[in-house]
Each structure stands twice: as C-alpha cells, then as structure tokens.
C-alpha cells in the first residue's frame, strides 16, 4: 500500500505530530510525504530526512501559504490517484483538510486512529475515549487521521526521501486567510505539553487560580489546564478546558489541583501517563484514577510544593 502523509509544519520546521503519522503510515506500507506551503524548501529538506520516507511531494505556491482546505484538498485528491491511503495527524490542519478530501474521494474517513490492526482495520476512540472501537473500512482508498499520542515518533534522521515538485492546483477563490493570533504563550500548548498542571473549582477565584497554578506550572515547565467547573465559574479562560467538550490531553504527567474528577473531565485526561491529584476531599473521584494522591488544603500544599521543586 502506498500512503501519502500530510506534513504538519509552521513554514520553518516539521511539527512532531507528523512523525507519529509517519509511524502509523509505515504500518500500512510505503510512506510518501506531502509538503504544502509557500517557501517550504527547508521544510521539504527536513522532511526528506525522516526515517523510512520514500518520495516527498512538494507543492509550493501562494495559494497554499496558509493550508486552506479549499485549495489544498483538490491537490491531495489529484495525488490520491497514485496513492492508496491519505494519512494526516489529528492537528487542526489535519482535521480540517482530511474529511474534505474523503468526501471528494467518496471515502468514509477513519478519524483519530489509535492503532493499525491491518491494512483495513483500525482502533479509534469514541465517546471521548470512554470506549474503543475496532473498525474495518470497505473503501478501496483510505483516509485516516492519527492521534499523535498513540504512535511513537519516527526518527528525524536517517531517511533520504526523493524530493519531487508538484504542480499547484491553484486558488479556488472560496476562502482567504485574514490573519492569525498565535498565542505568545511561553507555556507549552496543552495538546503537546509533556507536563500539565490543571486547576479546578476549589481554586475559588481567577486571582487564586493564577496565583496557585501559574508558579507551579512555571517551575515544572508545564502547560496550564482547567476543569470545566473552573472555566464555567470564570476562574480560567475557555481554551484552558480539559475534558470531553474541551481538549483531550495525554501528557507524561498530569497534575490535577482542586479537581474533583467529574466524568467529563476524566474523559479528557485519563490517558495521561502519570496522574497526580491534590484535593482536600479524600473521597474525590480523581483519586480513583490518580497514580499519586495527596489529600489536603491546596492553598498550603501548592505553594509549598512550588517552593520545594
């Protein structure tokens, strides 16, 4: 099987999510890459070094500068004439583009796969990871997105992919990029953070949330999250929310501070490698999933912990 993998990049460098998608694709067959953008020679050269990579298709055009799905999907559909599977990481670009490609190919996409069981069979999470489905595709071609935390990252060195330019399919005139605000957050993004410190309703105010959680996160080099209860109460901004309707995270270490552990929160973080819970209620459900628990007053524990790290 010949796969075409979407290379996620920021115009400068290949993003890690790509490497997990390459690993997933290599379990299906031959791995070809697709680098789309404007002025992406550097990214293409870097992508060609990824271990196990065959051809690197490069589409360099102003129409592709912001990876607008309307312009990118027709290009991928054309390339899928000679590939059997389109594989994209479950990044916002991947999730935006892949289903459009699938519809144009008349294929039912398999979203967010956790494992490759065979050429046509995959596991994927449903109900926010509360159940794992094994699905078999009857479509001749496959369109797949890959959950990054479920696959090891391919090595960034050792490959010698052959770079090949692809003609642009042009600007379809349906959409234009009007600007972006990428947060100047010095903290790691929640979905890729190795450590996350999350605060719950027990923080009791926005001021206390930041006074307690931020210094601890800074000490650990962690991303900051929050429970839905804390977000609903206005203690933390909405994009901090970890849970079924917020972000799904799976860091190496998840520190839950003053979070009771509602179902909807657990759904978003229970795949974390190590869960640490700090809560004054020893019967809180969070302790049922925590690897390390500390019962006590967070307003005493957190400053002491921050000081001792």
């Amino acid at each position: 099987m010949k796969t075409l993998v979407w290379v996620e990049h920021d115009g400068q460098a290949v993003k890690d999510a790509t490497l997990s998608a390459v690993t997933a694709a290599s379990q299906l067959g031959e791995v070809h890459l697709l680098v789309v953008g404007q002025g992406v020679d550097g990214v293409a050269a870097e992508a060609a070094k990824i271990a196990g990579v065959g051809k690197v298709h490069v589409a360099d055009d102003a129409a592709f500068a912001h990876a607008l799905a309307e312009n990118v999907a027709p290009l991928i559909v054309e390339l899928m004439g000679t590939h059997d599977a389109f594989v994209a990481p479950s990044t916002t670009h991947g999730k935006n583009i892949a289903p459009r490609v699938a519809a144009l190919l008349d294929v039912m996409q398999i979203s967010d796969i956790l494992s490759v069981e065979s050429e046509d069979t995959f596991t994927r999470p449903i109900y926010a990871g509360n159940a794992i489905a094994t699905v078999q595709s009857t479509d001749a071609k496959k369109v797949i997105t890959v959950r990054g935390t479920a696959f090891a990252k391919a090595a960034t060195e050792g490959g010698s992919g052959e770079i090949e330019a692809v003609a642009s399919t042009g600007d379809k005139g349906l959409s234009t990029f009007a600007g972006s605000e990428i947060a100047k957050n010095e903290r790691p993004e929640l979905t890729s953070a190795k450590i996350i410190v999350s605060g719950g309703r027990a923080l009791a105010s926005s001021d206390q949330f930041h006074a307690m959680i931020d210094p601890l996160a800074d000490k650990l080099g962690a991303g900051v999250g929050a429970s839905r209860a804390a977000v609903d109460a206005g203690y933390a901004p909405n994009d901090y929310q970890v849970g079924q309707t917020g972000k799904i995270v799976a860091p190496e270490v998840y520190v839950a501070v003053g979070i009771s552990g509602a179902i909807q929160h657990l759904a978003g973080m229970k795949d974390s490698k190590v869960i640490i819970a700090i809560n004054k209620d020893e019967d809180a459900p969070i302790f049922q999933v925590a690897d390390i628990g500390l019962v006590g007053d967070l307003f005493k524990i957190v400053p002491e912990l921050t000081a001792k790290l």
Partner: protein, 248 residues
C-alpha cells in the same frame, strides 16, 4: 438570509457511557439523550445572527424517530422549522453529508452551521465533507462569526491560537466551544415549538445510499486505570517527582 443547522441526538454529556457486554457498542437503552453540545452552540449562533440579517433558521436531523425531540428543542430555542430524515440504522458522516447536500440544493441556505463533532462517534467530519461536496468554503472550529457583504469572517480555534479566514457565501461553519453559550428554552417557547412545522423524509427520498462503509468489529472499554498510592505530605510528593525525573 437563510441558515441551515443540522443537529444530532446523542447520549447526554453528563452520562457515563457504558460499553455493552457483547462488545457491539455503547448501551443507549434507558439513558438520557440530548442534543449534541456543539450542535446547541450551532443553533444558538444561528439565532444570534437573526439580528444580523438572518430571516429563517431550518434545523435538520438525520436519525431515529426520537430525534424529533432534539429538533423540538432546537425549535424551542428559536429555530423556525425542522426536517427529520428518518433512519433507524446509523448513518455515517459521509452519508449524512450527502443527504445534507441534497437538502441544501432544495433549501438554498446562505450558511450551514454545524457542530464541529458529535460527542458519540467523535468523527469531526460532517461539516468539512459537506463543504467538499458543495464546493463551498469551510470555517471549521469557529470561535467568532461575523457576516459581511457576501462573505463571512470566521475566527477559528487552531493549534496554539486563533486564525481568521474570510469565506465567500454560501459557506459552511462548524462550531467550537467558545463561540457562544447556548440559551435554555423557556417554557412558553417550548409550548410554541410544538406547533412549528416539522417535515419527515427518508434517505431514499433524496436518492442517497447510506450503506455504511465502516464495519464496527467490536467496542471495548479502554484499559482501566487503577488507583495508585497516596503520599503523606509535600516532601513525599517531591520525592516521587524526583524519582520520575520530573523534578531535579
């Protein structure tokens, strides 16, 4: 200006999904079902756009007869009329998108606003698929929507921040959490919704083949976490963090 809002009936987000013992799926018998939360946000957004030139909101659901309840909820929130496409078997996003494309041909809306994903199958596909089939622009994961002359500006939640795209109308929008906070329907509006029109169709009426392309071989519970240890104090916790290499 007309807006079409597709909605889905799903297991209520506060109910813990239970995997059936025979491994065929999640048990939906005698559990609370509600409108998919992202679809509620889509209905709310359409209603808010009524001050900005939207004159009619049509809601549509593809699913079992009981999806009528979900459509009535949307009507009670403020949608004007409903279309139920009855299918007692599951229709995949590709099939849903094909039916919606046919409804769009008939209804000619200027905007279709959908939830970014349903919280049951977590596919996150239908909006993008519909946009592809219609050859329309797509503003996915929207946190802000501004209608302009012949176009719409959609601010989108992307990895690490926000991105704004301008889409030519007609266009597709899929909603993310921050777009708005959906209203609760008032009792008088719930009563009023009962007399709003609801049409019934089937996938066959649109000539769409909804045979699933994916076969679910089994559904299992994820590996369970077991409760770990409790430490006595901060020093013990710091010790553990050092063991793990998290703290120096």
């Amino acid at each position: 200006m007309k807006v079409l809002v597709p909605v889905k009936r799903v297991l209520d987000y506060n109910v813990k999904p239970r995997v059936k013992a025979d491994g065929t799926g999640v048990d939906l018998a005698n559990v609370k079902m509600s409108m998919n939360p992202f679809d509620e946000i889509a209905v709310e957004e359409a209603i808010r756009l009524k001050d900005k030139g939207v004159t009619e909101i049509v809601v549509v659901s593809i699913g079992e007869q009981k999806s009528q309840e979900t459509l009535r909820t949307a009507l009670a929130m403020g949608a004007d009329r409903a279309i139920l496409v009855v299918s007692e078997t599951k229709v995949e996003p590709l099939g849903v998108a094909k039916i919606l494309a046919k409804i769009v041909e008939e209804e000619k809306p200027d905007l279709v606003i959908l939830g970014k994903q349903a919280i049951d199958d977590d596919n996150n596909q239908t909006g993008q698929m519909l946009a592809g089939l219609l050859n329309w622009g797509q503003g996915t994961f929207a946190s802000k929507v501004e209608i302009a002359d012949g176009s719409v500006n959609v601010t989108r939640e992307v990895d690490g921040g926000a991105e704004t795209d301008t889409l030519k109308l007609p266009a597709i929008i899929t909603t993310d959490l921050r777009l708005n906070e959906p209203r609760y329907a008032s009792l008088p509006n719930i009563m009023k919704a009962k007399s709003k029109p609801m049409a019934q169709k089937t996938p066959a009426d649109f000539g769409v083949d909804v045979t699933p392309r994916l076969t679910t071989l089994k559904v299992v519970e994820p590996a369970k976490r077991s409760a770990g240890i409790k430490v006595a104090d901060v020093d013990a916790l710091v010790g553990k963090l050092k063991e793990m290499g998290v703290a120096k």
